[in-house]
């Protein structure tokens, strides 16, 4: 959702040149040892500023969750294979009707302000999230929204979360930082300071403690020496290795890459695909990318107005753009072309049989438009029907990023060949939001990271239009399927439904998936033990640095 990449082209070229030159220099100390080293500071370059978005129960910002994952623990952890494993909850049981989740909590867990973590703390946090006063932007939805009935402390270490109707995505939601736990004392004493956050306010049970925040510059965390309750999938137990974690806010892609090769930072998050070749040449840095689960970067075709009301026109659009070539040309192989409305790493939901089922086909696209009655041509060689040109408007939030603009240009050229006019329309923030809420656009576009098939409900269920269901899909049968999947406690049934929905989405051409974004992490060779979580974000709990003061 960031939109500050206007000069991406120039940037990429400059950065490339810079990195190749910088490759001649050496950065810092020798390579990381295989065995963890205690102490030192790990500096991580991030692309956004989480300050003022510190309340994880309120914010929907990725960057807040990425940084505050170190401060807030969750009941459970989702491993990279999608399995849910113990964390603050030792074990859990789901009632047969799917309405009650009973968690057995670990004992002797404390918040960094000394408060005990127990069933009452879980209740205080979940009730805080569900409270309308909190105005939660994301966590409340992960907690089931209006399906959340309440939390009950059965005894000190047993807590029961209840729902008014089954809500299967709950465990995945419970693994996210958004459903992490504040010290109940903070919730009690300073609920109005949580958004601004800061030391003494942003207090959790995590392996790191928030030490200081300089808005727009950096966030410093220090090790929690008492930490002894890491997630089941961690590679070590006990306190974190480094004494200090520093997140540096460097919004420009080229600057993050340059800071990494010059040794000013140890880890760079969300590296641009354009910077990857130069980083790989560098030799002091390793680069790993993880395809993000959830909704890939996709184009939503608005069913509620204009040319896309006709399914044939939607299908012609879908078949008439050469997505594979465009994605390869723009991202140089760093991002894969998307075949489905779910990314391949979305656990227990992705259906690979969609792959290859809808290749670029100019002839078929032409045929579909002929069938739809767009047979006349105007002086510019665009198709017309009843004197109206076949044309679609694609508004964007300010000028699109360089890479997105290249994609739009490629699609515009493809569509011109079949007589279909594509009109990109950059708008200012207010006008863009108004266009989204008013449903006045023909095309909208974004991606949404979430390792859970339920993301399809958010984008296809009739009740989520306008905005998230940006295609204005309104199909009662589909609604039933999506609700059934969200309520089912049977993983096989859920997978079957999501498979059906993925095929339906392609057939209906409701959402045209374009590419699977990848969260690319660059790590200096002086750093060991950095893992990526299932969304591709860097996890620092197990990491260590061989560059000691």
């Amino acid at each position: 959702m960031t939109s500050h990449h206007r000069k991406g082209g120039v940037l990429a070229i400059l950065a490339g040149a810079a990195l190749i030159l910088a490759g001649c220099s050496t950065a810092g100390a020798g390579p990381a040892t295989d065995n963890p080293v205690e102490g030192g500071t790990i500096t991580v370059a991030i692309d956004g500023d989480p300050s003022s978005q510190f309340d994880i129960h309120v914010t929907a910002a990725d960057i807040s969750a990425l940084v505050l994952r170190n401060v807030f623990d969750s009941l459970v952890v989702q491993d990279t294979d999608g399995s849910i494993q113990p964390w603050l909850a030792e074990s859990w049981e789901v009632s047969d009707d799917g309405l009650e989740y009973t968690f057995q909590l670990k004992e002797d867990v404390t918040f960094s302000d000394g408060e005990p973590f127990n069933a009452d703390a879980v209740k205080a946090n979940f009730d805080h999230i569900a409270d309308p006063e909190t105005a939660s932007q994301y966590a409340a939805a992960l907690l089931g929204g209006d399906a959340y009935a309440g939390t009950e402390a059965v005894d000190a270490d047993t807590v029961k979360v209840s729902f008014t109707r089954p809500f299967a995505p709950f465990l995945q939601g419970a693994s996210t930082a958004y459903l992490g736990f504040y010290s109940p004392k903070v919730l009690e004493e300073s609920p109005d300071k949580l958004i601004a956050g800061g030391p003494g306010i942003t207090v959790g049970t995590g392996p790191f403690i928030l030490e200081s925040v300089v808005a727009g510059q950096d966030i410093t965390l220090t090790k929690n020496p008492d930490y002894n309750w890491g997630p089941a999938n961690a590679t070590h137990s006990g306190a974190a290795h480094p004494d200090e974690l520093v997140y540096r806010i460097l919004p420009e892609n080229a600057v993050r890459a340059g800071a990494l090769t010059s040794g000013e930072v140890d880890v760079a998050s969300n590296v641009s695909p354009n910077d990857v070749p130069a980083l790989e040449v560098d030799g002091t840095v390793s680069v790993t990318g993880t395809g993000t689960p959830g909704l890939p970067y996709s184009i939503f075709l608005n069913h509620s107005k204009g040319v896309f009301q006709d399914k044939l026109v939607r299908q012609a659009f879908q078949q008439g753009i050469d997505i594979g070539s465009a994605v390869t040309a723009v991202y140089g192989g760093e991002y894969d072309r998307a075949w489905s409305v779910l990314g391949p790493t979305t656990p227990n939901a992705y259906d690979p049989t969609v792959e290859g089922s809808w290749e670029y086909d100019e002839d078929l696209a032409n045929q579909l438009l002929d069938d739809a009655g767009w047979t006349e041509r105007d002086t510019d060689d665009y198709r017309t029907k009843d004197g109206v040109r076949l044309s679609a408007e694609w508004p964007s939030y300010s000028a699109p990023r360089e890479d997105r603009k290249s994609l739009i240009d490629a699609f515009q050229a493809d569509l011109k060949k079949i007589g279909f006019e594509l009109n990109p329309n950059p708008l200012d923030g207010g006008a863009y939001i108004e266009s989204l809420y008013g449903g006045t656009y023909d095309i909208a576009d974004w991606s949404f990271v979430r390792p859970e098939g339920d993301i399809l409900r958010l984008h296809l269920y009739s009740g989520f239009a306008p905005v998230q269901n940006a295609s204005f899909v309104n199909d009662p049968e589909l609604d039933d399927l999506l609700v059934t999947a969200s309520e089912s406690t049977d993983p096989d049934e859920r997978k079957k439904i999501y498979s059906e929905v993925q095929h339906w989405a392609i057939e209906d051409a409701a959402i045209v998936p374009i590419y699977v974004p990848s969260h690319i992490i660059g790590v200096s060779s002086t750093i060991g033990g950095v893992r990526a979580d299932i969304t591709g974000w860097p996890l620092l709990y197990d990491a260590w640095t061989s560059r000691q003061p």
């Binding site: 030159l21 727009g216 540096r248 919004p251 010059s262």
Partner: protein, 332 residues
């Protein structure tokens, strides 16, 4: 921002003091109209900003929450009511002015912090950046304009100035970073690592300003040096440096000083880009975020701040100009 700022500058210069004669309360008579003018500029700027923010499309709460949030309409409505956005615009305006009079800028919608605190926390980094940039710009401009003697040197200076003025700040900054930070490791990218970290951002911001200043100074010097009084001064035995210090530079500096408002505009506008590029905190970054998120109280406070800065700068220029050019003192 920059456009608004330039408009303000015009307004500020339009409110020239009324010339009053008489010794009694001369200073008061001189400055009262200026202060009234300043007040009108600030009031006008804030009213205009208020109006613009309320007539542009898009609901502030929807914009603030963004596309990816999942917030029910009921909660959205609660937020609107809490922020007072459901009241008639006129009522909001009156309430807003009332608060301003009592020095209350309100709470930031998004940051949930008093606006005064937000600006207070972020103003120092921007002032440091702007301060060092001015120093760099003046030193560079003086250096170039004094060094550029003779036809070839002038042509070179002219080219250098043109490049400095027309290169996008963003590009210059990245180039400086690439060479001096990524490769040579002379300077850190930025951050709180002291003066060292301020050099590259300040230099980036200073270059276009230095270009303009140098152009103006050079033309001033060249123009002045052909004046007959220069010949007579030289005939009186003044050395070149004496001449420069006492006469020609003073003549040349006057047009440069009147550019002060333009320079302040460049600094404020440039800070937005510099702070983003170098990952620095500051007012520019706050402004950008506030505009993107339609954080009306912050935007309003920054507009008022900018208007105040322009008013003060123009008052200072008015006060300094007669010191540089005695002919202007007659106007009193």
């Amino acid at each position: 921002m920059a456009a608004a700022v330039r408009r303000l500058d015009k307004q500020a210069t339009l409110t020239q003091p009324v010339v009053l004669r008489g010794r009694v309360g001369a200073a008061f008579a001189l400055y009262l109209p200026r202060l009234v003018g300043a007040f009108i500029v600030v009031w006008g700027a804030s009213s205009l900003a208020f109006l613009v923010l309320h007539i542009v499309p898009g609901d502030p709460v929807d914009i603030m929450l963004g596309v990816q949030s999942q917030v029910s309409e009921g909660v959205r409505q609660n937020i609107r009511e809490e922020l007072g956005l459901t009241q008639p615009v006129l009522l909001q305006y009156v309430g807003y002015l009332g608060k301003l009079v009592t020095g209350e800028f309100g709470m930031s919608y998004r940051l949930q912090k008093p606006v005064i605190d937000v600006i207070g926390e972020q103003i120092m980094p921007t002032l440091q950046l702007a301060g060092l940039s001015i120093v760099f710009a003046v030193v560079l401009a003086l250096g170039i304009s004094l060094a550029a003697r003779g036809r070839v040197a002038r042509a070179v200076a002219s080219l250098v100035e043109l490049i400095a003025i027309s290169s996008p700040t963003f590009w210059t900054g990245l180039l400086l970073l690439t060479v001096f930070s990524f490769q040579l490791h002379w300077f850190p990218i930025s951050g709180g690592q002291g003066l060292n970290a301020l050099v590259l951002p300040a230099l980036t911001l200073a270059l276009p300003i230095a270009g303009i200043l140098s152009q103006v100074l050079r033309h001033g010097l060249e123009g002045t040096e052909t004046q007959p009084f220069v010949d007579s001064s030289r005939a009186r035995g003044l050395s070149f440096s004496q001449l420069l210090a006492r006469h020609t530079l003073r003549h040349a500096a006057l047009p440069a000083v009147t550019l002060a408002a333009y320079i302040v505009g460049s600094l404020l506008g440039g800070a937005v880009i510099i702070e983003q590029l170098f990952g620095r905190p500051g007012i520019g970054r706050v402004t950008l975020e506030a505009i993107n998120n339609r954080d009306i109280p912050i935007v309003m406070a920054i507009v008022i701040f900018a208007a105040l800065v322009f008013v003060v700068v123009n008052l200072i220029v008015d006060a300094v100009a007669p010191l540089l050019d005695p002919r202007l003192r007659g106007a009193r």
